[in-house]
């Protein structure tokens, strides 16, 4: 009887060892990250893995990253896992990336709640983590020393847009509809400040659950208040529902803005109604900042539409920052590279990155508008590709 128990134990132990066999070490620079490829956030990140594979391919085609201490160019490998939009899973995989896969650097996971949990792992192991798409100020308010984001705070999300509105002076009142999620709330906080700064009065201010289906009540409220601008801080699924019902119920504001709308999914869902909608986008073809050729090549390989997947693109500047950090530090030593990142201004495809203290960065999206099926950047003057049209129709 006793022997049989030992047999079971041995079998279980053997299975566990096999299951946890780590990948063998290689002569590459490994960057570790998780992404919500499935689950609640997958509507904007499901292709993230594909983009990373394409970018790695483009980078390695060009030879890789030059490391002075080894006096040669090393190829990159991004080791990524699907965290299923679940912070627990992300935490587990980051532990694995650090201790099993033995990556050289970490990127932060897209999605603010996931990044919140994952950043604790980085801080605990004193492992520098560069965050891409997670910009809520609360993540960076914890006095952690090992996390650095490339984005400016979420509260600055629409600052260009409001600056433009302030300059034009045609919009005087606004309705603010906020989806109840970490990121959207952060954006809304900023919107309230920016509106005030630019002379726009907010007449309706509502926060609504993310899975809300019926927008009759809020639409009626907005119709009554009749503002010039309707600003919706949310993600595409919520926005499509809102915009469709608003149009149905006869709400046609002169300006309609969605903080994350990507023209393609909006266009798919809204058809002709999508004309004149403004939003924010991080990068569109035609922008010539940073290492844009690499990004264009990656988009070519993966066949992805940069406007539709604008959020997924935010990790590209994070990768650029890591790369330049390695080049400037001349070594793969994490502390040295991290120090280099903190002390240098680094050009990226979305603008110049500079560490602003407490882990906050400087990149911000640019306002865009859909006009007759085409997407263009409308502000600031040095980056714009089309003129802002107000009222939209």
């Amino acid at each position: 009887m006793k022997r049989r128990s030992w047999k079971i134990l041995a079998a279980v132990a053997a299975l566990s060892v096999i299951a946890m066999a780590p990948a063998s070490a290689q002569d590459v620079i490994k960057i570790g990250v998780t992404a919500p490829i499935t689950g609640g956030l997958s509507s904007i990140y499901s292709i993230q893995g594909k983009l990373w594979d394409a970018w790695t391919q483009a980078q390695n085609e060009a030879g890789g990253i030059f490391v002075k201490s080894l006096n040669k160019k090393l190829p990159i490998k991004i080791v990524y896992y699907d965290d299923k939009s679940d912070p627990k899973v992300s935490v587990k995989f980051y532990e694995r990336l650090i201790s099993e896969d033995k990556v050289d650097f970490l990127m932060g996971p897209p999605g603010s709640p996931i990044a919140f949990a994952a950043s604790t792992v980085a801080e605990r192991y004193k492992f520098p983590m560069i965050h891409g798409a997670a910009s809520d100020p609360q993540i960076f308010a914890r006095d952690f020393h090992y996390i650095q984001g490339v984005l400016g705070p979420a509260t600055d999300w629409s600052h260009y847009f409001f600056e433009m509105l302030g300059k034009e002076g045609k919009v005087k009142t606004a309705a603010l509809v906020v989806e109840d999620s970490l990121y959207s709330r952060g954006v809304a906080v900023g919107v309230r400040q920016l509106a005030e700064k630019n002379g726009i009065k907010i007449v309706v201010d509502q926060t609504i659950p993310a899975d809300n289906q019926d927008f009759t009540a809020i639409t009626s409220q907005i119709k009554q208040a009749n503002p010039d601008l309707v600003y919706v801080a949310t993600f595409p699924p919520f926005y499509i529902r809102f915009a469709k019902q608003a149009a149905e119920l006869g709400l046609h504001p002169k300006a309609l803005h969605c903080s994350t709308c990507s023209a393609v999914s909006v266009r798919n869902g809204l058809g002709a109604e999508a004309n004149g909608i403004t939003g924010e986008v991080f990068w569109i073809p035609g922008m010539k900042l940073g290492d844009y050729k690499m990004l264009e090549r990656a988009l070519e390989i993966s066949g992805l539409d940069p406007v539709q997947w604008t959020f997924a693109l935010i990790s590209i500047p994070a990768l650029e920052v890591i790369r330049v950090g390695i080049e400037k530090a001349g070594t793969l030593d994490r502390e040295a590279v991290y120090a280099a990142i903190q002390s240098n201004e680094i050009p990226t495809v979305m603008g110049t990155f500079k560490a602003m203290g407490k882990g906050i960065g400087t990149l911000n999206p640019l306002p865009m508008q859909v006009q007759d099926g085409k997407v263009g950047v409308i502000f600031p003057p040095e980056a714009k590709t089309m003129d802002y049209k107000f009222p939209r129709n």
């Binding site: 006793k2 049989r4 047999k7 079971i8 299975l15 566990s16 532990e95 694995r96 919140f116 605990r124």
Partner: protein, 339 residues
């Protein structure tokens, strides 16, 4: 009243081998932080939590047949109470004391009205309660941080939370074993088979059901506290979401609801599959997970532990027969003993 019942199926020799296996597992688990990497610690930590949730879920589901689909609420409450207490400056000790107390009070409060329902209705109602907790967590922003979540400073080492989770997990296993061999368990099993008859035989079904619910709430709350202590972040989705809700149910069903080992095996099986799948296969992981569920549902409806495919294997490695799966003998014994 003082005689303690041992389920007739459990012969002493087989029981001893079970205890030896348990002791060996405990020793192995205690060595993980020493011999393994931080990833192994994290993996086994989450495994402990899964086993705790699945086993305590099975206290109600397996023994009484009441599917408490809102079981995860105890976990979420534990995490939130712990986090709120620490954030309010209460200190770890107070947090660890408040967590089980608040959760048990909550469990008893919902038990009274909900136990009037049966079968699928009970399951749906408890799931409704779980969602209500989620909505409350989202809306009571000042208390819980809402969708922004609750965050506490990372002060504790992963080893300590690992051992805490380990203690909780083994406590859950021992709790299940104790119930399986006690009069309480006998009463619960009788309730499962035919509640009216049990009531008629003199078992205070309502009382023992509530007792079982309260018992099943204590350990998940500690698991939640350990999780919060370790991860330092909780939001409504992590504490009360569908993922947390269905996982223990699936694990218990997969392994074999109504047996002590079933939920443990289910938890281990699923965790191993997840690790193997998700680390080595890039796509369609959830699809494979779903296929596993469908196959087990069709071919092994009683769970892995009761599967005819494996019955011979189980006999050969000396695993005890499933506890309490033959009610008529138990009921006969019960009535023999009544005054």
């Amino acid at each position: 009243m003082t005689a303690k019942f041992t389920c007739p199926e459990v012969r002493r020799s087989k029981r001893r081998s079970g205890l030896i296996l348990l002791a060996a597992a405990m020793a192995g688990a205690a060595l993980v932080p020493v011999l393994g990497t931080s990833y192994h610690i994290s993996l086994v930590f989450f495994l402990f939590i899964s086993i705790t949730l699945a086993s305590t879920y099975d206290i109600l589901a397996g023994f009484t047949g009441y599917l408490n689909l809102g079981h995860a609420a105890f976990f979420g409450m534990g995490a939130y109470v712990f986090g709120i207490t620490i954030q309010a400056g209460g200190g770890t000790a107070l947090a660890l004391v408040l967590t089980p107390i608040v959760t048990v009070i909550f469990s008893v409060a919902i038990a009274y009205p909900l136990f009037r329902l049966r079968g699928a209705y009970f399951g749906i109602a408890t799931f409704g309660v779980l969602n209500v907790m989620g909505v409350l967590a989202t809306n009571l922003r000042d208390l819980t941080g809402g969708t922004t979540g609750l965050s506490i400073p990372p002060t504790v080492s992963t080893e300590i939370t690992f051992y805490m989770a380990g203690v909780v997990c083994f406590a859950a296993i021992l709790l299940n074993t104790w119930i399986a061999t006690s009069r309480l368990g006998l009463g619960l099993l009788a309730t499962r088979e035919d509640e009216e008859v049990a009531e008629g035989s003199g078992i205070g079904t309502m009382r023992i059901k509530i007792y079982a619910m309260a018992l099943s709430a204590v350990l998940p709350s500690f698991a939640g506290a350990a999780y919060m202590w370790q991860t330092t972040y909780i939001d409504p989705a992590s504490g009360f979401g569908s993922g947390v809700a269905f996982a223990p149910v699936i694990m218990a069903m997969l392994g074999g609801s109504g047996t002590v080992i079933g939920p443990i095996i289910g938890a281990i099986f699923l965790t191993v599959i997840e690790e193997v799948l998700w680390s080595h296969v890039g796509y369609l992981q959830l699809t494979m997970y779903g296929i596993v569920l469908v196959c087990v549902g069709i071919f092994m409806p009683g769970g892995l532990m009761r599967s005819n495919y494996f019955a011979k294997f189980y006999a050969r490695i000396g695993l005890p027969d499933h506890y309490g799966y033959q009610p008529s003998r138990l009921l006969r014994i019960m009535s023999e003993d009544s005054k």
